[in-house]
């Protein structure tokens, strides 16, 4: 089925992007699968695999910064959380992703 193939394609493309940045896919397979599914859906409906956990503003310069993987544009924040906002990606040494809190960039 085409959705499953596109999920695999995104997994392949994104894996290559996040690895040099020190991240990997979350070991929580169910979460990863759900998020990739949402991204395929967003890509079909809105033209790009936008972040499932961030809202688009309609301004291209803002919206392009939340196309997955958005790590390059939010690096200090994500490095502090040791995960991306959605939790699709975590730092390479993370084995227990559920222990990582989700907090906005201005909260330590």
């Amino acid at each position: 089925m085409a959705v499953a193939e596109r999920k695999d394609a995104l997994r392949f493309l994104f894996g290559k992007v996040v690895d040099p940045l020190g991240f990997k896919f979350t070991p929580d397979e169910e979460l990863a699968d759900f998020l990739l599914q949402q991204e395929v859906k967003l890509e079909r409906e809105h033209g790009a695999p936008y972040c499932p956990c961030q809202g688009r503003s309609g301004a291209r310069d803002e919206d392009m910064r939340i196309v997955c993987p958005c790590i390059p544009f939010h690096r200090a924040h994500f490095d502090k959380m040791r995960r991306c906002w959605c939790g699709l990606f975590v730092h390479k040494d993370v084995t227990d992703p559920d222990s990582l809190p989700q907090f906005p960039p201005d909260e330590a």
Partner: protein, 110 residues
Amino acid sequence: MSGPAWVAVADDVSIKEGVPLAVYPKGLAVLVIRQHGELFAIANKCAHMACPLKAGRLDGYVITCPCHDWRFDIRDGAFLDAPELAISTYAVKEKDGKVLVRLEEARDGG
């Protein structure tokens, strides 16, 4: 085989200042760019989701991917927002009216 091979990719007159040209030496997608009189050759494939950079916007030494606006320096291939995610660059030169690109050495042993 000794040393990396230079491959002729185009007539030098066909590469106009500021107008990237897509070429395919040995099947590799390469973009040749003449900017400020100097030649550059980069992978014609974005580090994000592999969109061809050919249709991107060139501004100085920065090319912006048409798909989601990732920006690369055509001199060293670095992605401006995370230099770790550089695209490949290739040596390029003009000789006898031709533009030649040096591809990485073929890795098949022998």
